[in-house]
């Protein structure tokens, strides 16, 4: 080229470096991609790229009998499958007008709260790992395993319990089970001081978590964030209290809130919820021996059962927020449409993008875990 033909092109100053968090990344909860542009250590932009866990559940459910779906729904949220089962059953029960017997309702509450405890233990572990502490992760997973032992006992499956169906639950509790629940809860409660020492009162963690990923209440409400994330921003909204289902009205529990809305506040909220869940389960264990009756309202032959035409929206409080099922029936043996409102859909996408912007690289993973973003719920 001749020198007179050379034109200098002025590129914009390029300080940003594109960093891929995910889809396979220890700092990502599940299979999810977060593309962040960093300048130095600061994140200037983030783009959440989901879909890796899209398994087509909602379409699959349209092509299966109402009862066959109970085996599908727990798989929508891997760490906390029980609310999925209960919520689907509740939605179908609403359309079909089925009353769930009292004993089954109490057992469902126990199942949901045990699942919440297990999910929170899992989340603490994950959150700690993102800040470089692995011991709480092993502790969390190990103690969660004891809860999974309980699930194995009364539902037959450790994680995907497939224990609920429209009408109630599938089998009675084994002999002596309530005592083992109490023992496990006692053990977990006895471990809380250790957790405090190691994790919750750990000055390193507190310094890492404070001020990270601050959600203002207004922003949270605008994006539809629910659950511990919203409660950590100061609004005490809990479906169990504000739109009670099952037997929550008869139970005593607090709805913990914090004001700061940062990762630390969210952690504190979850810690308090863990304690409240233990309290709820103890109340259920105390009440169950006196509640007899059937465990299920029988449904007609499931190979031929037709749910009358109609629609329903049923919601429960899962460990991540308000989980809801919108089910439409056209009067046939299969659902016409099932839509799952996974609570993480609200805070794992745009909210996450907003929160990591302006933060540091090392806080990206922590933000996601502190939000307890669950990609299987987002993608379904």
């Amino acid at each position: 080229m001749r020198a007179e033909n050379y034109q200098q092109i002025n590129h914009p100053p390029s300080h940003a470096f594109e960093l891929n968090f995910g889809p396979n990344h220890p700092g990502i909860e599940g299979n999810y991609a977060l593309q962040v542009q960093v300048e130095g250590d600061t994140v200037v932009q983030a783009r959440a790229d989901g879909g890796y866990l899209h398994r087509g559940f909602e379409k699959l459910m349209e092509q299966r009998l109402w009862i066959q779906n109970i085996a599908l729904v727990p798989r929508i949220c891997v760490p906390d499958p029980s609310p999925m089962e209960v919520c689907y059953s509740m939605a179908v029960e609403q359309i079909a007008g089925i009353e769930v017997p009292e004993r089954a309702q109490w057992i469902r509450v126990m199942q949901l709260e045990l699942s919440r405890i297990a999910a929170h233990l899992f989340t603490f572990g994950g959150h700690a790992a993102t800040t470089g502490m692995y011991s709480p992760m092993f502790w969390g997973v190990a103690d969660r395993d004891l809860i999974l032992d309980l699930f194995e006992e009364f539902t037959g499956g450790r994680i995907y319990s497939i224990y609920n169906l429209p009408g109630g639950v599938r089998r009675e509790l084994p002999e002596g089970f309530l005592q083992r629940v109490t023992d496990t809860l006692d053990y977990i409660e006895s471990r809380l001081p250790d957790y405090d020492d190691l994790f919750f009162k750990n000055r390193v963690f507190i310094k890492r978590a404070k001020g990270v990923g601050v959600t203002e209440q207004a922003m949270a409400l605008e994006y539809g964030v629910t659950g511990p994330n919203l409660r950590a921003a100061g609004l005490p909204f809990d479906v169990r209290r504000d739109d009670p289902y099952l037997v929550y009205e008869q139970l005593e529990f607090e709805v913990p809130t914090e004001e700061a809305g940062d990762a630390w506040a969210r952690t504190l909220v979850r810690r308090s919820e863990l304690i409240e869940s233990i309290r709820i389960v103890r109340q259920v264990v105390a009440a169950l021996p006196d509640i007899g009756g059937p465990l299920r309202t029988p449904i007609p032959n499931p190979l031929a059962w037709r749910v009358p035409a109609g629609e329903s929206y049923a919601r429960v409080e899962s460990s991540k927020g308000e989980l809801a099922y919108y089910v439409v029936s056209d009067g046939s043996e299969k659902p016409w449409r099932v839509h799952v409102r996974g609570p993480s859909s609200m805070h794992a996408v745009q909210v996450l993008e907003e929160l990591v912007k302006g933060g540091r690289i090392e806080d990206v993973a922590q933000t996601m875990f502190s939000l307890d973003a669950c990609p299987p719920e987002v993608d379904r």
């Binding site: 194995e152 037959g156 499956g157 507190i206 190979l303």
Partner: protein, 608 residues
């Protein structure tokens, strides 16, 4: 929660030393035994499983394939297939819905949950579960069907029935029939396994018509029913329901009320509409062939129906004044109202079948004439004569045969019955005559004194248990294990039936060989003794000596090939006279014979 700004003491980390005093948490390396009720790999009791395929239908991942295991028994009449479920663990999600729907309860999940293999052995993930488990070691049953988890409704909808005191002095039909809600609930119990279809001699499309009833489409149900049985008003009431004996739900619960559902569907569509529906299957043109049928019972009329639909001209010769055969002349009105039988017959005649009543073969017309005038002849005369015990005194005028008496009641509307009657026999005919006589006694004497005596013990009676129960409710006294010895006659008057007790003995082959206890003698007072021990026909008399000699016989009955054709190429035989008394086998025979005749005649048509 304490203040997080509190720095705490410097010695805080020393609290970690407490861990030295705590027992270490250890888990063994070997897989531990799972909890009770765990959902592991499948187990299947091959002896209990009947191969109904319900597990395959409910599996939401299509993980189950039914495979044939030739060594296992396959018995259509009992509802047992030699198919067993094979599971693909690449698809199975261990939800245990298959266990909870299994009608026999043979499926369960074990406590075993470990399986590893190399890539070459990848097919090992597809296996046929048996009693021991995936690797031949039994780890114990995990998730099993419990009453709570069972997904099937094992109880049948109760058929409303008139109570005994309201039904015993009249001949009105005693069952109410299903209401639409009952029919829907009963039809929903069906798992569509098809055992009923396989067990029915006519190959009835029961799963299909049950499904149509469930969908509320009774006309479609009637269409399905008429594919296999033009006598469905009759069979919906009195069939011997082999289907229900084979029903999978009946293994642990009460079988589907397949017969009552048929009644519901047939009664639910108007007579006119049924005729319109059946006319849809009529052939457009006549074949020009003619067929004579001797006997207007279920076998004869089914043959006639099939042949008429195909366009042949059929004439039925009936010796009695009305068509219908045993359903009319043998089955009492309270089980089968004449009106419903007439509907079935009208639907058949509307297809172009001509029935000539009062024309008895052997009297008004001979077999030779039929052979000459028609292209084919079918003998369907049934077993219309009753057998006699031939005990001393059985030739008295007041010792009657049950079939003959039932015929008389049908023809004349009623008969005079004495105040005390004894019936000999434990089959359905005995129950029919006993309950008929009981009603007449109630009408004529104000009370019931009818006794049924039979050689067999009550649990071995050939009669339907429901019939025995209803008879007892109506005041009939059942005396099982009595052997008739003599009809006691004094001064020309029948006084009683003398019986000895029977010590029932089965020999090594299980054959029943009654043995008397002469010390146990009873006299049952009777103004009439009715013998209901068995039936026979007088086919050889009807056919005439020459034809009887020409034909081949098989153990006393006309020899027929599997299509019902006798050794004479123009003569077929069907129904009770060939296969013994049973209405649904008679209908099945009718179909087979009609198909055979049609093939032969069309063969002739092609050559013509």
């Amino acid at each position: 929660m304490s203040d997080y700004n509190d720095e705490g003491s410097l010695l805080r980390p020393l609290r970690a030393l407490s861990f030295l005093g705590r027992p270490a948490v250890t888990e063994p390396l070997e897989p531990r035994l799972a909890a009770e009720g765990y959902r592991g790999f499948h187990l299947n009791e091959h002896a209990e499983c009947v191969g109904c395929s319900s597990c395959q239908k409910i599996c939401d991942n299509a993980a189950i394939t039914m495979v044939e295991v030739p060594e296992l028994p396959n018995d259509e009449a009992k509802g047992i297939r030699n198919l067993r479920p094979a599971v693909d663990y690449g698809r199975c999600c261990w939800c245990a819905l298959c266990v909870d729907i299994c009608p026999t309860g043979s499926l369960s999940l074990s406590k075993e949950y470990v399986h590893t293999c190399t890539q070459e052995e990848i097919d090992s993930y597809f296996m046929l579960p048996n009693e021991t488990g995936m690797h031949g070691t039994f780890y114990g049953k995990g998730w099993q069907k419990t009453e709570t988890s069972d997904l099937l409704d094992l109880q049948r909808q109760e058929m409303g029935e008139r109570p005994a005191e309201l039904r015993v002095d009249n001949f009105d039909e005693i069952v109410d029939g299903f209401t639409p809600e009952q029919a829907m609930a009963e039809a929903s119990r069906c798992v569509q396994c098809g055992m009923c279809h396989d067990a029915c001699p006519t190959g009835m499309d029961a799963p299909e018509y049950i499904r149509s009833i469930y969908e509320g489409d009774l006309e479609q149900a009637v269409r399905w029913i008429y594919q296999s049985n033009p006598f469905s008003h009759v069979c919906g009431r009195v069939c011997t329901h082999r289907c229900e004996d084979a029903c999978s739900i009946g293994v642990r619960g009460t079988p589907l009320a397949i017969r009552w559902l048929k009644r519901y569907a047939m009664d639910g569509v108007s007579h006119q509409r049924i005729q319109e529906i059946t006319q849809e299957q009529r052939a457009a043109e006549s074949t020009g062939h003619t067929v004579a049928v001797v006997g207007a019972g279920p076998a004869g009329l089914t043959t006639a129906w099939d042949l008429a639909r195909k366009g042949h001209k059929v004439v039925v010769y009936e010796s009695r004044q009305q068509p219908g055969g045993m359903p009319r002349y043998g089955i009492p009105e309270y089980r089968l109202p004449y009106e419903m039988l007439d509907r079935d017959i009208e639907t058949i005649t509307a297809m172009g079948v001509e029935i000539r009543c009062g024309e008895e073969v052997g009297k008004q017309v001979t077999m030779e004439q039929l052979q000459q005038e028609y292209d084919a002849v079918v003998l369907a005369i049934g077993l219309h004569l009753g057998r006699s015990t031939r005990i001393p005194g059985s030739d008295h005028a007041h010792v009657r045969s049950a079939v003959e008496l039932l015929r008389q009641v049908t023809e004349e509307g009623t008969i005079e019955v004495p105040e005390e009657v004894v019936v000999i026999g434990g089959g359905n005919v005995a129950m029919d005559i006993a309950r008929t006589v009981a009603r007449l006694q109630r009408q004529q004497w104000g009370g019931v004194k009818t006794v049924v005596t039979a050689l067999e013990a009550e649990e071995n009676f050939l009669a339907d248990p429901a019939e025995i129960r209803e008879a007892a409710e109506e005041g009939v006294t059942i005396c099982p294990s009595r052997g008739p010895q003599e009809c006691v006659v004094e001064a020309g008057q029948l006084q009683s039936l003398r019986t000895w007790g029977v010590c029932s003995i089965f020999d090594q082959q299980g054959r029943f060989a009654p043995h008397y206890d002469e010390g146990d003698e009873q006299c049952h007072p009777a103004g009439m003794v009715i013998e209901a021990i068995g039936q026979m026909s007088n086919a050889d008399q009807l056919l005439g000596d020459m034809l009887t000699e020409r034909l081949e016989w098989d153990r006393g009955r006309l020899q027929v090939c599997e299509n019902g054709r006798t050794s004479e190429t123009w003569l077929w035989a069907a129904g009770d006279c060939v296969n013994g008394p049973d209405v649904v086998h008679a209908v099945a025979d009718g179909h087979r014979v009609a198909t055979s005749i049609d093939e032969v005649l069309r063969g002739a048509l092609k050559h013509a």
